[in-house]
């Protein structure tokens, strides 16, 4: 039993890392990682929401009717997001400014909805907490790594301290939107290469198998395959 619990926790760290393996939560991953500290701020906020909403949804899993589960999940998540939003605003105003509207947008972060749908609504409280914690830490780690890469390349600093700015001219494009897409692409390529070496499947497409909206989206993707170019 104990070993199983550890598995729930470590699952989200590497094997099913939400960003690199499940490819969920791409919007905040690309948007806020202009500096390592923002990555940590976003990661920790999302982790808190994820763990709290997993607890509540797991507790309510026998109460919520199946038909209205998605709106119910969204309401629970939105409640916790508002709490986190107010806490960040009160105690870390600089992070609040840096994250801007992406902080309230944690509501629609698919990692949280996906874990509610795939895990918390089917498991008891302790596994749900561990799963949320593991996924949250995996998310934070990737965001921080990406923030660090973009900060070093784009500004020559790390966590605000000068690293390479004195001898290499910073390439500002890494801080701009194209840099986000590029660094993320390179990270996914690297994670794929490692996965391949270890005999794991590589990520070829966006994480549709893990997307919370998959059941609704099926018709869309089926349509994509059937339609012939006009």
């Amino acid at each position: 039993m104990k070993g199983q619990n550890i598995k729930y926790f470590t699952n989200g760290l590497i094997k099913e890392n939400p960003v690199l393996r499940l490819v969920l939560g791409t919007c905040p991953t690309l948007a806020v990682t202009t500096a390592a500290i923002n990555g940590i701020g976003m990661g920790v906020s999302a982790t808190i929401v994820l763990v709290c909403s997993n607890i509540v949804i797991s507790l309510l899993r026998n109460v919520i009717p199946d038909k209205v589960r998605i709106p119910a999940f969204i309401t629970v998540i939105a409640g916790f997001v508002s709490v986190v939003q107010m806490l960040v605003k009160a105690f870390l105003p600089s992070i609040d400014v840096a994250l801007g509207i992406y902080l309230p947008l944690i509501v629609v972060n698919c990692i949280i909805l996906a874990r509610a749908e795939m895990f918390a609504s089917k498991n008891s409280v302790l596994p749900s907490i561990l799963d949320g914690l593991g996924m949250g830490i995996g998310f934070t780690a990737v965001l921080t790594l990406m923030g660090a890469i973009r900060e070093i390349c784009g500004a020559g600093t790390l966590f605000g301290l000068t690293v390479t700015a004195e001898f290499i001219d910073p390439m500002i494009v890494f801080l701009l939107p194209p840099g986000g897409f590029f660094v993320f692409g390179v990270l996914v390529a690297a994670s794929n290469a490692i996965a391949k070496k270890n005999g794991k499947e590589i990520v070829e497409h966006l994480g549709c198998e893990n997307c919370p909206s998959r059941s609704m989206c099926k018709s869309v993707s089926a349509d994509e395959e059937v339609t012939v170019d006009e």
């Binding site: 919007c27 969204i74 509207i101 309230p104 509501v107 986000g180 692409g185 070829e204 549709c208 909206s213």
Partner: protein
């Protein structure tokens, strides 16, 4: 006259300089997921634009007259629930009264509730302090900008699919790097619409 120029500049900014997808990173999932075929990309963007404009028309008065200033902290939770309700309503109305439109857009509507571009645009309208009319045009522009990005990217992707890509970049990585280049081209618009 002055009003018209403001509205034109809001539209241009929303479509080009502050493009939802390519510079604000909102709505990345449909951008990467539903952009394989131009036809699907187009229908999806039409649905997104429709929901954006209607949601703005509803959330803006709710925020200004009901929530602000006493209950401003309820913004997030109220907005997402209102958007979810609007999407359901639009689906019901289209299904009942405008069947052809429903057949074309219906399957995309449920996906839009959790699309961060819609929630994002309604919130940005408030944070940027736009007036009601300006907000509506901003939402329209955001939707059109989303469409432009989707269609452009669908075109780029069909070329990428046919290209001989190095083994380690195949699949998602090359898609993201292609998106980086499309996004780079949009940097050229910086300054337009001031």
């Amino acid at each position: 006259m002055n009003n018209t120029t403001t509205i034109v500049s809001i539209l241009l900014a929303a479509i080009l300089t502050d493009n939802m997808v390519l510079s604000k990173f909102l709505g990345i999932c449909p951008f990467l997921g539903v952009s394989k075929k131009p036809g699907t990309a187009f229908s999806m963007s039409i649905a997104v634009t429709l929901v954006m404009v209607v949601s703005t028309a509803v959330t803006y008065p709710i925020y200004t007259y009901l929530l602000y200033p006493k209950f401003a902290y309820l913004q997030t939770i109220v907005f997402i629930l209102v958007i979810a309700a609007i999407v359901q309503l639009i689906e019901i109305v289209l299904k009942r009264f405008i069947k052809p439109v429903y057949n074309a857009l219906g399957i995309y509507l449920p996906l839009i509730t959790t699309n961060c571009a819609v929630l994002g645009v309604t919130m940005l309208n408030i944070t940027d302090g736009l007036s009601f009319v300006q907000s509506l045009f901003n939402a329209l522009g955001a939707g059109l900008g989303f469409m432009l990005a989707m269609l452009l990217f669908a075109g780029v992707r069909s070329k990428v699919e046919a290209a001989d890509v190095p083994e380690f970049l195949k699949g998602l990585p090359i898609t993201l790097i292609a998106a980086a280049i499309v996004s780079l081209s949009f940097l050229g618009f910086a300054g337009i619409g001031g």
